[in-house]
Structure formats: structure tokens, C-alpha cells
């Protein structure tokens, strides 16, 4: 176990290092620099001072080493475009917004999806099954984008039930201000519903035909007990292993939704930062999100073992 953890940790560090390097040089490869828009109208002397302030007067390799050195100490530096904006501040202000949006989508979407999946598997071949399957194909065939625009038009534009754009701030940041979050949450949750309904249905159908389910039935167990104790437990592995990936994606995966509903989340800012070639912000966000991603992959591996004792961690007995 200890050996496995150490190996994973070394891999994590190497991967993060490669990602940071790749991000740095990719951004450097783009023609132009983040300051030119601000600096072009300035006299030569102020321009040089501005470039010197952000360290952009130094050659690429030197800046690379400096940036990496600072990053090791946890300092990603200040935004090139918005003075005073730091990665730390960004995470504090914007990450909660995206996280709440993502989590709300996931909690609603996954629970509804799992229920529909159980329904479809248990009532296989009936109207209910076909409706769930048809519904989920329909849902995955409509992009977030179109869903978002449609919901916005109908429920905010025509019916005025919910605000068109916006997001709770201040003390409502984590809890409260629900009416503004309804439409964005709905928009995002549909893909989870479709995905989890299909996933659970397929894996439950695998289990339903097993002999031990027949045994349980012939023992005279009630249907509810069979589903809970025998079918669900054994068909939950694909769902358990998909869940951490969903958590990882849900925090960052709402670019379109944030863009449609003007939600001040981390995704929208990321797009802006990349467009502005705001190196320090992009680098910081990329590295932080990658760490999150790699950690979640690691947790997935642990979960595999927790759910199914037959699977052993690689490198352990």
C-alpha cells in the first residue's frame, strides 16, 4: 500500500510538472503578448516599466524557470490583464460559484438518473422502459447550449418564473437565492440523468440474469430486498467508478451554462483568461484543476477496491 501511494505521488508530481511546462510554452507559442493592448498607447519608457513590472522583459527560458520556481512555493503570481487579481483570489471568489452549480446539477441529475435506470431495468420491455430509453437518447442528443437557451427563453423570457441571468452572491453564495439557480441547474442535470440512467440500466441487466438472483427469488425474498441487496449492490461498480469523474468534470464542465446565464464562475473566466493570454492565471487554474483531476483519478482507483474486494490495487498483494 505504502509503495503504491509513493508511486502514485511521484507520478502526480511528474504529470503536474509536464502539464505546467506544456501550458507555459503553449501560451508562449501564441503570437503577441498580454500587455500589448494596454501598453501600445504608452510612451516607450512607461511601456518598458510595465513590461519590467510583470517580468515580461526577460527571455522566455528565464521566465519559465522563475515561474516554475515561484509555483513550487505555491505562488502563481498576479494577473497580467487585471491588476491585483491573483489565482488565490480567483479560487476564493469564483470556484464556489462553479462548484455549487456543478454539485447541484450532479445531485439532482445522478439521483433522478439512477431512479430511472432502476425503473427501466426492472420494468424491462414495458412502456416505462421504452420511455426512459427514448427520453435519455433525446436528452443526450440535445446539447447543453440549446437546452439552456430554450429554458431561458421559455421560463425566464416568456413565463417570467425565474430570473434570466445572474447568480446568488454574498451570504447566499452556498445556500439560498435558489430561484436564480433553478434554470442553470436544470440545464446541466439532463446529461447526468441520461448518462446514469443508461449506465445503471445496462449494468443491472447484466446482473438480473445471474443465478444468484434466481436463487434469491426462489428463496421467496421480496422484490424490494432482491433489488436492494442482490441486484443494486452488484451492479453499482460502473456507477461508483463513474461518480468521481463526474465530480471532477462538474466543477469545470459548465462553460456553456456559465456563458448562457452570465454566471461568474471559474469556467467563464478561464476562457477569458486564455483569450487574453493571461499566463499566470491560466497556468494557475490549469495546474490546480489538473491536481484536482489527478487526485480524483486516484480516489477512483481506491473506490474500485472499496466497492469490489476482488480487485487489488496495482503493486500490492
Amino acid at each position: 500500500m505504502a509503495k503504491y501511494l509513493i508511486r502514485r505521488f511521484v507520478e502526480l508530481v511528474v504529470t503536474i510538472f509536464l502539464i505546467a511546462t506544456a501550458t507555459f510554452f503553449l501560451l508562449e507559442a501564441v503570437p503577441g503578448d498580454p500587455l500589448s493592448e494596454r501598453a501600445d498607447k504608452l510612451p516607450v519608457q512607461s511601456r518598458e516599466a510595465l513590461y519590467a513590472r510583470y517580468g515580461l522583459d526577460k527571455p522566455v527560458m528565464e521566465r519559465y524557470l522563475l515561474t516554475m520556481g515561484r509555483m513550487c512555493k505555491g505562488d502563481f503570481g498576479e494577473s497580467f490583464v487585471y491588476a491585483g487579481q491573483t489565482v488565490g483570489g480567483l479560487v476564493r471568489d469564483r470556484l464556489p460559484v462553479s462548484a455549487r452549480l456543478g454539485l447541484q446539477q450532479m445531485i439532482l441529475g445522478v439521483s433522478v438518473g439512477l431512479l430511472l435506470g432502476i425503473l427501466a431495468a426492472m420494468k424491462r420491455g414495458t412502456i416505462a422502459d421504452y420511455m426512459v430509453v427514448g427520453f435519455s437518447v433525446l436528452l443526450i442528443s440535445i446539447p447543453h447550449l440549446i437546452f439552456g437557451l430554450m429554458l431561458q427563453k421559455i421560463f425566464a423570457g416568456t413565463l417570467h418564473w425565474f430570473p434570466t441571468i445572474g447568480w446568488p452572491a454574498g451570504k447566499d453564495l452556498w445556500f439560498g437565492g435558489w430561484e436564480a439557480t433553478v434554470l442553470p441547474t436544470l440545464t446541466g442535470c439532463f446529461s447526468y440523468i441520461a448518462m446514469y440512467a443508461r449506465l445503471l440500466k445496462t449494468s443491472m441487466l447484466d446482473v438480473i440474469n445471474q443465478d444468484y438472483v434466481l436463487t434469491a427469488e426462489s428463496k421467496g425474498l421480496s422484490k424490494g430486498t432482491i433489488i436492494r441487496k442482490h441486484i443494486l449492490r452488484n451492479s453499482f461498480i460502473p456507477v461508483m467508478t463513474q461518480l468521481p469523474m463526474s465530480v471532477g468534470m462538474c466543477i469545470t464542465g459548465s462553460f456553456f451554462i456559465e456563458s448562457i446565464y452570465s454566471i461568474p464562475g471559474i469556467g467563464q473566466y478561464y476562457v477569458t483568461a486564455v483569450n487574453n493570454q493571461d499566463l499566470s492565471i491560466v497556468l494557475g487554474e490549469t495546474v490546480l484543476l489538473s491536481i484536482l483531476y489527478v487526485v480524483i483519478l486516484f480516489l477512483t482507483d481506491i473506490l474500485y477496491v472499496a466497492v469490489d474486494p476482488r480487485i487489488a490495487l496495482p503493486g500490492s498483494k
Partner: protein, 303 residues
């Protein structure tokens, strides 16, 4: 008294006994037969063929040029003259939608082709060489996968400019990774199988093993990859163009049309509605056909 002639075969010859009554059916014939029995998949196939025909001839049906402006007839709704109405410059939406759908479909198909070819070659190289080559190639995939795709896409579009070529590169830049992983797994598995051993022992050349054993065995997986990748690419293209990162006007794709339609959503919803419906129908047809193909091609799902 038993004698030799009492044990004669009567009634049919050796040849007849060895004849196979029913025609032998290859894997592909069988898959096609299964697909034909699936009404949903066949409907999807018909819809797709119809869409492909429309994408080719659609822009010419009404006789309006898709970029010709007509200031008198701008922002019209559906009518006998303009089936899908006109946009804010008086351009015929019906023609524009099919031109846009053509671009979206072409982008998706080419990107899928690139993904499959690059992914298969890369995966085959990983499985074939193994050892440290495998390790390094795998690490590259891991790094590519953990970089945010949006970052790569935006950067590629910034370096190469907002054009079709750049979009294709951007879309397929990371997409091949999953194909490569799957191919690697498949070939590693196939390499250990008895019939490949047998072929090697019989002196088959590596090329023959690849063409006769690896490719046919992987083809069904690759077809499934393609059927899930195509709708994905259409989605991504639409999303990127909507965010202003993908194609931009005057180029036309469904994404561009949707982002233009969104600007007039409040007053002329039809300009958003029609491109959205066409996009959804295309994606749904591909998804349903993909589901049907999965049932037809995957031996494990057969009863």
C-alpha cells in the same frame, strides 16, 4: 450373417453428407442481419441517408443563394417563399441551414477519421513495441488528457486562426487518445490469442497478421468509436462556434447559425429554432444508429 455389404451407406453419398445446407454467414453479414431487424436503428439509418442527401442538394432546392442578401425580406418567419424564414440580412435560412449542416457533418466526419487513424496507429505502436516505448507513449497520452481540452482548443485556434483547418486540428488533437488506449488494449489481448500464435507458427508475415487478424477483430470496436465520436464532434463544434472560439461568420456551420440565432432569440425565435432542430436530429440519428450498431456488432450482447 453379418457381411461387409450390409454396412453400406444407403440413400445419400458422402458428398451430400458433408454439404452444408444453410449458407455460411460471415460476422458482417450476421451483424447486418441483426441491424436490419432493429426498427429504431433502421429508421435512424434512413433519416441519416435523407440528411446526407439534403446536405448535398438542400442548398439548391429553393434556388436562393445562401449568401445572397435581400433587404426587403429580412427577419421573416416561415412562409411558402422562405420555408425556414430569413435571417437579419434577408438570407434564406433553408439554404443556409443545409450549408451549415454540411460543414458540421464534414467537420465531424473528418475529425473522426483523423481520430481513428491516428489513434489506431499510435495504439498499435504502443502494443507492438511495448516496454519503455509503451511507457513513454502512455505518459504523453496522460499529459494530453489531463490538460484541459478547452485550453488546447483555444490555443490552437489562436495560433492557427479561426478557420476550418485549425478547427479540425483542435478537435482531433486530443480525441485520438481514447482510441489509442482501446487499440492498445485490444492488440495486447489479440497478441496472446491462440489463432495469432498459430498464424505466427505457420509463418505468416506481420503484415498478414495485422491485415487478417488484428484489423477485422478491431473493426467493430472502431465502428462503435466512430458512431459515438461523430455526435460528440458535432456538439463540440457547435459549442465552440457559439463561444466564438470555433468558426466565425462569414463561415457557416450549425454552431455559427445557432450563435447568430441566439442574438435575435427574443424577437425572431425561429432563427434559433431551425438550426437547433436540425442539429438535434443529426445527433439523435447518429446516436440511435450507434446504439443499434452496438447491439449488432458486440457478440457479448447477443442472446
Amino acid at each position: 450373417m453379418l457381411s461387409q455389404e450390409k454396412f453400406r451407406v444407403v440413400g445419400y453419398t458422402q458428398e451430400e453428407a458433408n454439404r452444408i445446407e444453410r449458407p455460411t454467414i460471415s460476422y458482417w453479414q450476421d451483424a447486418w442481419r441483426r441491424l436490419k431487424k432493429n426498427p429504431v436503428a433502421m429508421t435512424a439509418l434512413v433519416v441519416l441517408i435523407f440528411l446526407i442527401i439534403m446536405v448535398i442538394i438542400g442548398p439548391h432546392i429553393r434556388g436562393y443563394d445562401y449568401i445572397a442578401m435581400n433587404v426587403v425580406d429580412k427577419n421573416q418567419g416561415s412562409s411558402a417563399k422562405y420555408w425556414f424564414g430569413t435571417d437579419n440580412l434577408g438570407r434564406d435560412m433553408f439554404s443556409r441551414i443545409w450549408v451549415g449542416a454540411r460543414a458540421s457533418m464534414l467537420i465531424a466526419l473528418i475529425a473522426t477519421g483523423l481520430k481513428l487513424v491516428v489513434g489506431t496507429l499510435y495504439g498499435a505502436a504502443m502494443a507492438h513495441f511495448g516496454g519503455w516505448v509503451d511507457d513513454i507513449l502512455m505518459r504523453i497520452i496522460e499529459v494530453l488528457n489531463s490538460l484541459p481540452h478547452l485550453l488546447l482548443t483555444i490555443l490552437i485556434m489562436m495560433v492557427l486562426g479561426n478557420n476550418l483547418f485549425a478547427l479540425l486540428v483542435a478537435l482531433s488533437f486530443t480525441a485520438w487518445c481514447s482510441t489509442a488506449r482501446q487499440t492498445r488494449g485490444m492488440i495486447k489481448q489479440l497478441k496472446e490469442s491462440e489463432y495469432v500464435y498459430a498464424a505466427e507458427v505457420l509463418g505468416a508475415s506481420p503484415l498478414r497478421i495485422i491485415v487478417k487478424h488484428y484489423v477485422p477483430n478491431m473493426l467493430s470496436i472502431l465502428i462503435l468509436e466512430a458512431s459515438t465520436a461523430i455526435p460528440g464532434f458535432i456538439f463540440t463544434e457547435a459549442g465552440l462556434s457559439f463561444l466564438g472560439i470555433g468558426l466565425t461568420a462569414p463561415e457557416i456551420s450549425l454552431g455559427v447559425l445557432i450563435s447568430q440565432g441566439q442574438k435575435t432569440l427574443d424577437f425572431y425565435p425561429s432563427q434559433l429554432l431551425y438550426p437547433c432542430v436540425v442539429l438535434c436530429v443529426i445527433v439523435m440519428a447518429f446516436n440511435l444508429l450507434g446504439d443499434g450498431l452496438r447491439d449488432a456488432l458486440d457478440p457479448r450482447l447477443r442472446q
